[in-house]
Symmetry: D2
Subunit: 343 residues, 4 copies
C-alpha cells in the first residue's frame, strides 16, 4: 500500500469536475493566450465572486511566476517590495524577485504575519533618512494570505496595513496561493470581496486549491499596469493554451466549487488539529487553516514510518521536529482515520 501523504496541498491531480470539463471541451477549437471563451467566462465569474465588476483578471500558471510577474510589473527599477522575513518571495522562490532586479525588503513578522506598525515604522524611518536616495525605495507591500505558517490576517489587521499603504501611496499585493483555505477558515472574518476591496492586486490560487495549475491575478479596480500582457509573456508566464487555465477557474467558480472544496480542507485540518491535541502532541503554531504544525518526538513519528508522509519544518534544540501536515480539497475522512489509527 502506498504511503499516505500529508506533505502538501498539491499531491493529487485536479478536482474531478475540472477533469470532466476538460473532457467535455477537449476538441473545441479556441484561440490561444487567454483569448478563449473559457477564460472570458472565468473572468466574469471571478469579478462577480469578488464583487469587483471592473477588475482586470489574468491567468498565470504558478505561484513564483505570478509573484515575480506582478511585482515586476508594478515596481519601477529603483523600487523594492516589503515582505515578511518568512514570506515566500523572501525565502523559497530562488531569488525570482531579485532576478527581476528588485530587492525584497524583509521586516520582522509575528507568526508569519507582517505588522502594520512595523511597516509604518520602516516607512517613517526610511523617508526621514537623509541617505534615502542611496537606498531602495519601498514601492509595494507583499503579504500572503494565508501565510506560510497557515495564519491569516484579521479584517482589522488587513485594514491597518492597507491604511499604511495608502498613507505612503504604495500598492498592497496579496499572494493568495492558498486563498480559499484562508477564506473558509472559521477564524476568518474576511470575504473574497473584502480581499478585493482591501488591496491593489491579489491572486486566487488554483494550483493548491483543486486545479492542475493556475493562479488568477485580479486587479480589482481595472488597475492592471499598462501592457501587463506583454510583461506576462516576457516573464515566460503566458500559457499558449490559456484555455487550460480558463476552464479550470471557470469550473472552480461555478456553484461555489472553490469555496466548497476549500471548506473540506479546513474541516479535515481541524480534525487533524484535534487529533494531535488528543494525542498530547503540541502544535508549533495555532494555525486556523489547512497547514498544521505538530511538534513530534521520534517516538511519535516511529509508527508513521513508511506509512505516512509529512514535511519536516525545523529541528528544535531538544531534538523534536516541527512537522507540517497539510490537508487539501482532496483529503478524505478515510485518510484522517488512517492517520489516527497509526498515531
Amino acid at each position: 500500500m502506498a504511503p499516505l501523504s500529508f506533505t502538501c496541498d498539491y499531491c493529487e491531480g485536479a478536482h474531478p469536475k475540472i477533469l470532466q470539463r476538460m473532457l467535455e471541451t477537449n476538441m473545441i477549437q479556441t484561440p490561444g493566450y487567454g483569448e478563449d471563451p473559457f477564460c472570458a467566462s472565468a473572468r466574469e465569474k471571478i469579478r462577480q465572486a469578488a464583487a469587483c465588476p471592473d477588475a482586470d483578471v489574468f491567468f498565470l500558471v504558478g505561484g513564483t511566476q505570478t509573484n515575480a510577474t506582478v511585482i515586476d510589473s508594478m515596481l519601477r527599477g529603483y523600487e523594492g517590495v516589503i515582505a515578511a522575513v518568512s514570506g515566500h518571495i523572501a525565502v523559497h522562490e530562488s531569488g525570482a524577485i531579485e532576478f527581476g532586479g528588485h530587492k525584497v525588503i524583509t521586516l520582522p513578522a509575528v507568526e508569519g504575519k507582517l505588522q502594520a506598525a512595523e511597516i509604518e515604522k520602516y516607512l517613517k524611518i526610511f523617508h526621514a533618512d537623509e541617505a534615502k536616495d542611496h537606498m531602495v525605495l519601498p514601492g509595494m507591500v507583499y503579504i500572503s494570505f494565508p501565510t506560510e505558517y497557515g495564519t491569516i490576517y484579521s479584517r482589522s489587521e488587513l485594514e491597518a496595513i492597507r491604511a499604511v499603504c495608502k498613507e505612503y501611496d504604495i500598492p498592497l499585493f496579496i499572494d493568495g496561493a492558498r486563498l480559499g483555505y484562508g477564506l473558509q477558515s472559521p477564524a476568518c472574518d474576511l470575504s473574497l470581496p473584502d480581499i478585493a476591496s482591501l488591496c491593489d492586486v491579489f491572486y486566487i490560487g488554483g494550483t493548491k486549491v483543486g486545479a492542475f495549475c493556475g493562479e488568477a491575478v485580479v486587479f480589482p479596480r481595472g488597475n492592471a499596469p499598462s501592457h501587463f500582457f506583454t510583461t506576462v509573456k516576457q516573464h515566460g508566464a503566458l500559457l499558449a493554451k490559456g484555455r487550460l487555465l480558463g476552464l479550470q477557474f471557470d469550473e472552480l467558480f461555478t456553484d461555489g466549487l472553490y469555496f466548497e472544496i476549500s471548506r473540506n480542507a479546513i474541516e479535515k485540518a481541524m480534525q487533524l488539529k484535534q487529533l494531535f491535541i488528543s494525542k498530547g502532541i503540541p502544535l508549533y503554531i495555532d494555525s486556523p487553516t489547512n497547514q498544521q504544525f505538530p511538534i513530534m518526538t521520534q517516538e511519535d513519528l516511529a509508527p508513521l514510518k513508511d506509512k505516512v508522509l509529512y514535511e519536516v519544518w525545523e529541528t528544535l534544540p531538544d531534538g523534536r521536529l516541527v512537522t507540517r501536515f497539510a490537508t487539501s480539497w482532496a483529503t478524505s475522512e478515510e485518510q484522517i482515520e488512517r492517520l489516527a489509527s497509526l498515531l
Copy 2:
C-alpha cells in the same frame, strides 16, 4: 456552426490518451516539482527514444519560458545568443532573453534557417575584431527545428552548424517547439537520436504536439548546467504539480504516440499544400511541415469569411496576403474537406 480554425497548432485541448491517463491517475498522491514517478518514467522513455541514456531531462511549461531558462542557464552574463533574424527568441518573446540580461545577436537567415557559413563568418570577424572585448561575446547558437517558416534543417546543414559551434567551442541549442512535425516530415533526413547527438541541448515540444502544455528539455550527455533546477525555479518555470507534465510526456512517448500524431499533422499539411496548388494559390515558402503559407487574394479569402480562421503573416506590396494555415495532431480529414469545399 463554429468557424474552422487553422490559426495554430494549439487550438484544441490534449490528445485523448493524455486525458485518459489524467483520469486514471488523478487521485494518486505524488511528490511535487517533477519528483513524481510519471516524470521519472517519461524521462526514461525520452532517453530511450532519443538514444541518449545519460541525458538530463527536465519538464517546463511553455516555449518562451523554456528558451529564456535554457539560454540564461548556459550563458555567462557577458555572453549573448546567436539566432536567425526571424527566430522566435528574436521576435515573438517580448524580450524574454534580454529580460535575463542577454543580447540576441541576429544573423540573416534563408527561409528561416541560419546558415553555417553566416555563423562562421560572424564568429571569425568577431574574434578578429580588436574591439571585441567591448562587444557581447557570442556564447551559444539557437536554432528552431522546424523554423518559424516551417522549414527544416537537413542533416548536412545541421552538421555544418554543429561543426562551426565545435570550432568556436559554443553550445548549440535546438528549440523543438514543433520537433515532432519536423521529424515526421518526409523531407526530413534526421531522427530524434540524430537531433540529440548533434546539439548540446534541445527540447521536445509538447504544447504544440498534443499536450495541454509542456516542453521536455534534454541535455543529451548529462550536461545540464549546475543547479539547473534552481534556475528553473528562479525563472518561474517550475510546475508544482510536475506530474501534469510527466504524465503527458509519458503518454506521448508510449508506443510512439508523439511520432504518430505528428505524422497526422504532416499528412494533413501535405493535403493542404496540394489543395492550394490545385486551386492555383501560390505558396510563399515551400514548407515541408505543418505550417503552410499560401498567398491569398481578397477573392481567394472571401468564401472563407466567418467560416475558416487562419493567420495573416504579411501584406505584400501588391495587396495580397501571406497567410498561415497550420495543421496539428488534431486536424481531421473532414476539416480538410470542409476547407476544400469552400475554397
Copy 3:
C-alpha cells in the same frame, strides 16, 4: 620619440584650464554626490548655453554608463530602444542595455544615421501587427550626434525624427558623446539650444571633448524621470566626488571653452581630410566632424609604421583598410604637419 596617436579623441589628459581649476579648488571642502557648488554652477551654465532654463542636469562619468542609465530610467520593463544598426549601444557597449533588461531594436542606417522614414515604417508596421503584444514595445529612439561614422543629422533630418517620435509618443534620446565636434562642424545647421529643443534627453560629452571624464545629462524641460538620482546610484554611475565632474563642466562652459576646443578638433580634421585627398587617398565616408576614415593601402601605411597610430575599422575585400584618424581638442598644427611629412 613616442609615436603620434590619432587613434581616438581621448588620448590626452584634460584641457589645461581644467587642470588649473582643479589645482585652485583642490582643498575646498564640498559635499559629495553632485551637491557641491561646482556642479550647481555648471548646471546653470549648461542651462544657459542650451537655452533651457528649466532643465534637469546630472553629471555621470562615462558614455556607456550614461546610455545604460538614461535608457533604463526612461523605459518600462517591456520596452526596448530603437537604434541604428551601427549605433554605439547596439555594438560597442558589451550589452549594457540588455544587462538592464532592454532590447536594442536595430534599424538600417545611412552613413550611421537613422532615417525618420525607417523609424516611421517600423513603428507603423509594429503597431499594425496582430502579434505586437508578444513583441518588445519600441519605447524610445536613440541617436548619436555625431554618429559613430562622424556624420551629423541636419536640422530637417532631426526634425523629421522628432516628428515621428511625437506621433508615436516616444522620447528621443541624443547621445552626444562627441556633441561639441558635431555642433562646431561647418556642415552643422544646429545649435546647442536646437538640440535641447528637439529631443527629450541628451548628453554633452566631456570625456571626448577635453575633460578627464564626465557626461552631462540634460532633461531639457525639467523632465527627468522620478528618482533619477537613485537610478544613477543603482547603476553604479554616481561619483562620490561629484565635484570632479562639476568643475570640469563648469570650466568647459565658461567663456565658450567647450565650443572653442571643439572647433580646434574640426579645423584639424578638415586639414587631415585635405591631406588625405591631396595624397590621393580616398575617404570611406565624407565625415564633417573630427573622425576621418581614409582607405589606406599597405603602401600608404608603410611609412607610418612605429611613427603614427590610428585605428583599423574594417578590411575591404581588395585588402585595403578602412582606417580611422581622430582629432580632438588637443590636436596641434605640429601633429598634422608631422603626419603630412610622413604620408
Copy 4:
C-alpha cells in the same frame, strides 16, 4: 568663513602629489581603457605592495560600481552574496546588487562585522535544508574592511571567516573602500599582503583615500573571472581615460604614499576621539579607524552650528544624536584644533 566639514572622507579633491602627476603627464598620449603605461606601472606596484606577483589588477571608478561588478562577475545567476545586515551593499547602494539579479543574504553582525560562526551556522542550515534547491544559493561572502561602523576584523576573525569560506568552497570578497584607514589603525594586526592572502578578491579604495576617484580591484592569485574586462564594460564601469585611474594609483603606491596619508587620517581620528572623551561626550562605538561616532546632545552641538559639519547617523530614544565625524588624508592639525576650540 566656510564651515569646517567632517561629514565624510571625500570632501576635498585629491592629494597634491596626484595633481602634480596629472599636470606633468597631461599631454602624453596614451591608449584608453586601462591599456596605458600608468595603469601598467600602478598594477605592478600594487602587486608588490600586496605581495601577490600573479595578481590581476583592474581599476574601476567608484565603490558601488565596483561591488556590483565584482559580485556579478563571480556569481552564477542562481547565487547570492552573504553580507552583514549593515553592509554597504545591503543598505546604501540603491539595490545595485539586485539590479544585477542577485540577492543580498543578510546575516546579523556585531559592530558591523560578520561573525564566522554566524556564516557557518547559516551555511550549515542551508545545506541541510530539504528545500534548498528552492532557495538562493549562497555563493560568496562580502565583508567591508573597515566596516561601515569603522571597525576592523582581527587576523583571527578574518582567518575564521576565510576557513568557513574554504569549507564551503565559496569566495571571500573584501570591500576595501577605506582599506588604508583600516590597515594603518594601531588596532590592526593585518598587512596588505595578509589581506591579499586571506581573500579571493578585494579592492583598494582610492576615492576615500586621497584620489579623485578610483578603486583598484585585485584578484590576488591571477584568479580574475573570464572576460572580466567585458563585464566591467557591460556594467558601465570602464573608464575611457583609464590613465586617470592608473596615474592616481601609481602615485599612491609610490614611496608608500597610500599608507602615509592613511596614517594621517588615523592620527587625526585618534585626536578626535580623545577630544570627545575629554569633553565627556560618549562614543557610540569604539572605532579604531577614521570614522568616529560621538553621541551628542543638542547642547553639545549648539556651538558647532554653521561652523562645523558632520553627519547624523541615528536619533536615540532619549533624543541624543549619534553623529559621525570622519577624518581623511586631508585632515589637518589646525582643523582638529578649530573643532576643539568650539566644543
